[in-house]
Chain length 354, copies 5
């Protein structure tokens, strides 16, 4: 099953704007969660239907509705109606192999991003599509499945840490984006550490599964780059846009975000180029070692094959074979053998094979 691309077969030939989920359905019922806060207070609710969540929105507060599991096209249809989102945007939300982008609307800012997750401590990463709608009082986040990188943000809201509680919805949106990018950077750091670890073993003989490690790291970094790169343009567009819901005062945060994404991509490129160099270096090392092996074989074979021939001669059973009867034939044989060995050793020495 492909890991880097979603199976579109279910959506084949459907009209544009048809809401067909093309990911792997991992949740039976979508989870709808609302966090509602301002400087004074904080409410948290779990809802069964999106209508209830929509009615619970209070204008004086920041309302963050998070939906885990967006495979249900009816749910998405209702979201579209409640939040007045165009059909095409809904399709982009449910079709989870979208190019990360920023879609400004009249009464909302829509963002489509990739949230990366790493299962356990393995190298393999998975990209989950995160859709975000920012309105005046609310943020709507849509995820393919439960589990995200926003736990610290929920924690900060609940514990009143940082500026979140005293800021508006657009600052929460920035905080969410920042969490996504911070997650990118942590992943890159993990990969980077493994890439740098290779330096310690690349010139050792027992670098057995080096090729496999290099290949896997490069594949994942390649995929990571594909997932992150469009975000740089998204951040740049948000920075320049004048009709966004991000308040001008908070533009500095977006600038910082842009710098972070830039640095992330630079780091990926750096490590990918390191991995390429490592593979080339390893390849040349293997070649070098093969040369060593070949030299040993050649020296052994070239010395003993002539000697064996010499011994073979005097093992022949010819009736008329004068040398066999000389008294000093045997010592002479050893003398000849030693001379051959000496000459060949000198020859190989001169060739620097010894």
């Amino acid at each position: 099953m492909p890991r880097f691309i979603k199976d579109r077969s279910k959506a084949k030939g459907e009209a544009p704007g048809s809401l067909i989920f093309i990911g792997n359905q991992k949740l039976d019922t979508p989870l709808i969660h609302l966090i509602q806060y301002n400087t004074e207070g904080l409410n948290e609710y779990d809802f069964d239907t999106i209508e209830e969540a929509f009615q619970a929105i209070r204008p004086g507060m920041v309302n963050w509705i998070n939906v885990d599991g967006i495979h249900d096209s009816e749910l998405l249809q209702k979201i579209g109606q409640l939040f007045s989102l165009p059909q095409l945007l809904l399709e982009d939300f449910i079709n989870t192999d979208q190019y990360p982008r920023y879609e400004p609307g009249e009464n909302y800012d829509a963002l489509i991003l990739k949230m990366i997750q790493q299962t356990d401590n393995s190298l393999l990463i998975n990209a989950e599509q995160l859709s975000m709608v920012l309105g005046e009082h609310f943020i709507l986040t849509l995820q393919e499945q439960p589990g995200d990188v926003f736990t610290p943000i929920r924690h900060r809201i609940r514990k009143q840490k940082g500026r979140l509680r005293s800021k508006n919805a657009d600052y929460l949106a920035y905080a969410l984006l920042d969490a996504v990018v911070e997650n990118y950077n942590n992943l890159i750091e993990n990969f980077g550490r493994r890439v740098e670890d290779i330096d310690d073993i690349i010139f050792q003989n027992n670098g057995n599964n080096l090729v496999s490690t290099i290949y896997k790291l490069k594949t994942e970094l390649n995929f990571l780059r594909k997932s992150i790169r469009p975000f740089r343009d998204v951040a740049a567009q948000l920075l320049k846009s004048e009709e966004t819901f991000f308040e001008p005062d908070n533009k500095q945060y977006l600038a910082d975000l842009h710098g972070e994404v830039h640095q992330a991509i630079e780091n990926i490129e750096f490590y990918m180029s390191l991995l390429s160099d490592q593979l080339n270096t390893h390849h040349t090392n293997i070649q070098n070692r093969q040369n060593e092996v070949m030299k040993v074989l050649t020296v052994f074979a070239s010395i003993f094959i002539p000697l064996t021939f010499l011994a073979g001669i005097y093992g022949m059973n010819f009736k008329y074979f004068p040398e066999l009867n000389y008294q000093f034939s045997y010592p002479a044989f050893w003398l000849a053998s030693l001379s051959i060995v000496t000459v060949l050793l000198l020859y190989f020495k001169r060739k620097k094979w010894l």
Copy 2:
């Protein structure tokens, strides 16, 4: 016969604007089909001549004339007269190795694209030129041969699914373009699945026709990229153009299309770079395995060649050969042999060849 480029020899030296078909003629008589619809009704006709089709166009409806088989220059000439298209555009339609592009005219928007088809489930793909003329009430599509990616669209028109029946000709044009791009994405997904499958066997020993698979996938993806890449510019031009027949309300669809093509190209690049890494990795693997083979050969040969020499010595038939007559010569021979073997095994152990 070249598959990636059309044979231009027939058109050599002809005046610009001469209508010489340079593809492979696959149809005796062109097929002319008209689908005519609006919210209320739907008519479908097959015509023998393009004049009949032209006369059947009704202004209050969306008229989609599709022509399969454009090798007939007379037919194209008539199309030019009926729809007031310039000679040079007609030449671009019939000369089916054109660079995909957007040609705005006074009373039409002309688009030249590549429609990709994959025969059976083989890897090989073929690009067919699709020419499209969008006027106020009609769309004219010209194909090289029957068989296209528009079956689901015809189905949606007939069954009144989606928005098609309630929208104008420009929306149909978008739907057709969307079908072409969706087809690209399906192909990329197919290729991508095969590329990712290679990961499962690349570190196995029996990756016999790996090189061949990698090469073929890369060639097809390369060709696909060449066919798709110019479409990105076409979509961008359509988006920016102010004199196009695409209504401003439908620009969002074009934006979505642009994003889809962008994603398609990114995916191709990703898989091509994966294939390159796979070839490099496989190459290093082969080298590694050769090293293994060499070590086995070297160890065997280096151990037994000296021993054989030793045995050869005592096989000699010299008359004066004192060792032959000692009582413990034979056990001494074994002792010497075992010592040699031990020393060499230790030597190879230290070199980590065992």
Copy 3:
């Protein structure tokens, strides 16, 4: 002798604007030919001097003066005086290793291009500089030597085929440029066919001169790309220029030309990248085959070398050698040999070398 670059030594240290021919002089006397036409009539003349040709120009007609052999600096000086061309432009005409470019003047448009020719059916191509001056009533084309790609155009003028006879000089200029580009495309098609032919033999064993073919094709395509690439900018400048002699009505032709050149360059890039993949694939194939060879050698040697040692032992002539006298020694030897062979065969089987 260099084929891809002209010998500049003759022009070393000369003042800018000095007219020193740096190509290989291939013609003793320049050939001066005038074709003069309009809708009504057609005249053709061969002249000995450029003055005569200049005087024969008739304002009401399209006058195409073609000069083959521009090594004569006096001739060029006269051309400069007659057509009022600046000295530096003349130098660019005679110095035939110029970067293709468009030089607009007050009373002319000057173009410098590369016309590619392929000797026989060999792979080798040659670039000849084609200089073109477009005035209001005339076109002046300067070639290094006789033989060009304009035969079909002359034919169309004479036979009144196409639009040429009814159009002005700027259309003729376009037709000439179109012929040059069509020639590029035909060459690329020829090369492309050969590149695709390689696919049929790359996985066969007897791909003996594959490396040589790939290298030669890549070199020629590389040179072709260098010669064509600047033309894309030239076409784009012509398209944008507002002070050119190309009439606005004919701009569509230039747009078409631009598309053709673009496609040509894309095709070259495609085939060059295919050739690179082919070389890499072939390299890995060779490596693979070497592995096969190595395995056969290793299996043979590793099996028979120990056996030969065994046989050598019992060929020794020790006096006290108990095994030699046992009745079942010989069958035991065979048993031991067969056991060794079996064990080794199983070992190599498990390693998948068999």
Copy 4:
């Protein structure tokens, strides 16, 4: 432990603007140093607290406050309050894996750069983040640890060498930036010298740790490029900015700086491409030498293996073996052997293996 990327784990999940130091704390107490000068006088102080340093600033003089050791978030918080710096900027200062950039503020210009240091004469380099705040009368520099590239500047201030004492704070800022870039260039020169040294040994047989040297140099240059490249944009932004604290008169210095950084990056690219060529060349050399080894082995084995077989034949003990009893069998054996050797030598000679 990763050398090319900082450990972000301490800052994971913290609110943006939280001051968490992510480098390796190398200093217990930060060192705060103030140099205060104008044309007339010079004062130098060491302070324990940043408040004292702030109070010591005198408007009529250039005040350069340098802080070594910025792991203390309280200190940074105080700096923020005293110099009115936004929280996000402070975070960028303490989070020492930032993308080098220029952040203009209302009452300051902030710059984040990488200062490179090389421990001893080893190849390994380390990047330390240098943060700089330029106000009207003061410069604040923040370093991760003691030891910097500014010693010559302090010397020039103290000894009244150069223009420093007669210029304003912005000139000091330029001088500091210039020192950072000069340090880059010195490092590149060091690396370049080592890269060029490789040319002397690359075609010698004993290039044993060539691969390792090439790999290490390339890794360091790669890292250097990553650290320097963004500085080019920073310098360009400073040049264009109209609201910077750099006086227009001093813009020429910034232009010069921009040129220097540009040259530095070009030099890095040049040496990296040289190193790539060296690795490829070395790889082909190894291959060449292996070919030599193989030829020697093949010639030896191919000559003596048939001869040994021949000797083996006449060592057989068949009862009925006519050749054994002929008188000239032994000389005939030698004749046959010599013939075989001669034929094979000629064969290998023709193949140019000798």
Copy 5:
């Protein structure tokens, strides 16, 4: 000693604007030469001091002061005072590892370029910094050492060849730049000829020092590209600049120069890419040849090693060894041997190793 980069150690830590020469001093006393001309007359002088040269400048003439040997910082200081040049520019002149650039001033145009020289006919090239100051009546050229590419220009001035004597100082500046570029082109032609020569021997067996030649050519071309590339931007800036001392009438010469530099860089890229292809091709050739060697070894060894074993068997001295006594054992042995050889030959034939 590094050849591609200048030793900056002497200038380490100096204040910006300090005049420290970082090249290799090759001249004891600077040579100061003045050529003074207009249409009527010509004067030439050698001076000991720059003051004398400055006083000899005559407004009605073109005054070209050339200084060979700029290691003397006092001299440069005086030049700065006499011609009112800023300190930073003087530093760029004496620090001879500058990025080629154009520095417009109020009363001058300053240019820094690389002049390339090739010692003898060796491959190695050296870049010398050429600084040029163009004022209204004068040109000042500063070179590191005697010997330049301007001999033909001096000749043309003296012999009144070309336009030089009738034109102003800006035309002389153009002529000097043109000589520098022409020298580039001659060098590229030299290198190109050598690159193309490789084509003749790359498929021959005795391409012994091919790798070394390819590597050296690529290194020099790489260095040449680094030295020339910035000149393209310099020429483009001169073309666009409106405040330059180049008169608008002479802009056509600058355009021509820009085209020449462009062509030079294209040619370098072309040859570098050819060299890369040559190295790859050569590498694959070596691999191919190694395959040949391996096949010969394998065929010889695989055929004779089993036969030797066979002969070894019948050389054993077992007492009970029935075959030894059969009458037809010896012919049977030969039959078996021939069968083995035949089978193996057929096997290798089928594998296409023969």
